[in-house]
């Protein structure tokens, strides 16, 4: 495996700044959208994804994301497929468009070989993806805990804590409680058939 390209301190500074100002709110939004369509990511997936991002190897990370996306997930785990499908879209767009034209992270030096540029893109993407995924997984943790609290809650009872506040906000945004009730009804129907 070729050695990881060393990034310039200015590039690292810029990535940290982007992480704070752009990637964090985008990651929060990404995860909130995912949860509107289904359950949060289970801990087994969180751990796997964290391990891969920690390796700082973008090619390996992308291979993992594509593998998880293309797996034949059973119906109750389709949220995992949706998560990786959306994550691949976000990372792909970051690499193809945003890295160069929006983030201006690639060093503009003439006479560089294609291989050199590709290595730099990989190193930049490994860091950007790590930042984004770490923010996504932190948000997922809160949402996962909230979902567990919801499951424990007897029907019709309000649960305090931040879960309660989030539920209230989601209900105001529209229909989350209805969706949860629908899901509960579906589960009840399913358990009747089992």
């Amino acid at each position: 495996m070729p050695a990881q390209k060393q990034l310039q301190p200015a590039q690292l500074q810029k990535i940290w700044l982007l992480s704070d100002t752009l990637l964090y709110p985008e990651a929060v939004d990404f995860m909130q959208r995912m949860v509107k369509q289904g359950d949060p990511l289970p801990m087994s997936q969180v751990n796997g994804l964290l391990n891969i991002t920690a390796s700082n190897n973008y090619a390996e990370l992308l291979r993992f994301v594509l593998h998880q996306r293309d797996r034949n997930w059973p119906f109750p785990k389709m949220n995992i497929k949706r998560f990786y499908t959306s994550l691949e879209v976000v990372l792909g767009k970051m690499q193809r468009e945003r890295l160069r034209s929006e983030f201006h992270l690639l060093q503009d030096v003439s006479g560089r070989s294609t291989d050199d540029i590709r290595q730099e893109i990989d190193a930049l993407m490994a860091l950007l993806a790590r930042e984004f995924i770490q923010h996504v997984l932190a948000e997922n943790g809160v949402l996962l805990q909230q979902a567990e609290e919801e499951r424990k809650k007897p029907k019709g009872q309000w649960v305090g804590g931040q879960g309660g506040e989030r539920n209230r906000q989601q209900a105001q945004r529209g229909g989350s409680t209805d969706r949860q009730q629908n899901r509960q009804q579906q589960n009840n129907r399913r358990s009747q058939w089992q």
Binding site: D20, V142, G160, G161, Q162, R168
Partner: protein, 114 residues
């Protein structure tokens, strides 16, 4: 609390602190326990801390930047980021000091002893 202070002191980015707070909210009941009798009683310690750092602290960055910033527009974002991180560190230091003070005084209070 010690971990919170350590994270704040060593973080390179404000979002490292936010991610840590979220992880604590997800893992520990104490970080989620609502404050009885408070106007935002539904919010636990973690969520209140996160809301304060994310929403209430940022307006102060502009005030500080306007009084001590170099005025160099190309470096504005980086300077604001530095100020934000320093404010977060300072605030968390004070929270931890207050927590330790209250935890020990409550433990030694005559009501608890009797």
């Amino acid at each position: 609390m010690t971990s919170l202070e350590n994270i704040a002191e060593s973080a390179m980015k404000s979002t490292d602190v936010f991610d840590f707070i979220k992880k604590q909210i997800a893992r520990h009941d104490d970080w989620r326990k609502p404050f009885k009798g408070h106007k935002d009683a539904y919010q636990g310690f973690g969520e209140r801390l996160k809301t304060y750092l994310e929403k209430e602290l940022p307006p102060k960055i502009t005030i500080i930047y306007n009084s001590v910033g170099t005025g160099d527009a190309t470096d504005k974002d980086r300077q604001r980021k530095e100020i934000y991180l320093m404010l977060i560190r300072q605030f968390i230091r004070q929270v931890v000091v207050q927590y330790e003070y209250r935890a020990n005084t409550d433990k030694n209070s005559p009501e608890k002893e009797s």
